[in-house]
């Protein structure tokens, strides 16, 4: 059992998520990129958990999933509220918090 390919894939998907957050301006795509990053971390946690024969990593994945679900629900509610007020999901147009 070699852990290296899993870690490499995890690194690559995390980087793709970072690219999505940094380069895209659509709030929903940015949000999905964050989910992608959470998933890549989950993958490396499960890989280490299986590699070391320790269940703690999988428990942590379980909790990360619940947090991700809660975050998705709240974040999408925020996006809906924003869209209702500004009629856009472009992050460059949402600047009311700027001074």
């Amino acid at each position: 059992m070699d852990i290296q390919p899993y870690l490499l894939l995890s690194a690559i998907t995390f980087t793709i998520g970072v690219v999505g957050v940094l380069a895209r301006r659509n709030a929903i795509i940015v949000f999905m990129s964050i989910e992608l990053m959470l998933n890549s971390v989950n993958l490396s946690l499960v890989a280490f958990s299986a590699f070391l024969g320790d269940v703690t990593g999988q428990m942590l994945v379980f909790f990360v999933m619940t947090v991700a679900a809660a975050e998705a629900a709240v974040g999408l509610a925020i996006i809906i509220a924003l869209f209702r007020n500004k009629q856009t999901v472009n992050l460059d147009d949402i600047n009311i918090l700027k001074w």
């Binding site: 059992m1 290296q4 899993y6 870690l7 490499l8 894939l9 690194a11 690559i12 995390f14 980087t15 793709i16 970072v18 690219v19 999505g20 940094l22 380069a23 301006r25 659509n26 929903i28 795509i29 949000f31 999905m32 990129s33 989910e35 992608l36 998933n39 989950n42 993958l43 499960v46 890989a47 958990s49 299986a50 590699f51 070391l52 024969g53 320790d54 269940v55 999988q58 428990m59 994945v61 379980f62 909790f63 999933m65 619940t66 947090v67 991700a68 679900a69 809660a70 998705a72 629900a73 709240v74 999408l76 509610a77 925020i78 996006i79 809906i80 509220a81 869209f83 209702r84 472009n90």
Partner: protein, 150 residues
């Protein structure tokens, strides 16, 4: 694929494909419980929520979001490339310092039975905290999505 699509619906569908692939990888790592929970929660629940919101907001005119090459994209590419190299270096370095593999145990710890036992004994407190977090998330989502506060 997900990041490059202009249409958010196509991007979401690619993300679902990614989730299924990841579920398969969890199965190869003998983490059955995590694999099934992953498919159920992500591909089942979260992505339905995403697709629902995308279609509710009716983002048909995605061209307005202007995907042209800008200085921000170049900076993003540079930063991400640096991050990727760093991660690969760290993981390559970790290879020499890992303890001996105990992969033969993984088939035993990935089962629902073992995880359930651990969840309700060692990890009981985080489990309870999770329930409060979910309650807060429900209340928060409802309040935020309400048309106006009374």
């Amino acid at each position: 694929m997900m990041v490059t699509r202009r249409n958010p619906v196509i991007a979401a569908l690619y993300l679902i494909l990614n989730f299924f692939a990841l579920g398969g990888l969890y199965l190869t790592l003998n983490a059955q419980f995590i694999a099934f929970i992953h498919i159920l929660v992500y591909a089942g629940a979260i992505m339905v929520l995403f697709l629902f919101v995308i279609m509710l907001l009716n983002l048909g005119d995605v061209k307005l979001l202007g995907d042209k090459i800008s200085s921000r994209k170049i900076i993003a590419a540079g930063l991400s490339f640096g991050l990727l190299m760093e991660l690969i270096y760290i993981f390559g370095y970790a290879r020499t310092n890992l303890p001996a593999s105990r992969f033969e145990r993984s088939a035993e710890i990935g089962t629902v039975e073992y995880i359930g036992k651990e969840l309700f004994t060692t990890f009981l407190f985080p489990f309870e905290v999770t329930s409060i977090l979910l309650l807060a998330a429900i209340v928060g989502a409802v309040i935020l999505a309400k048309r106006k506060l009374d």
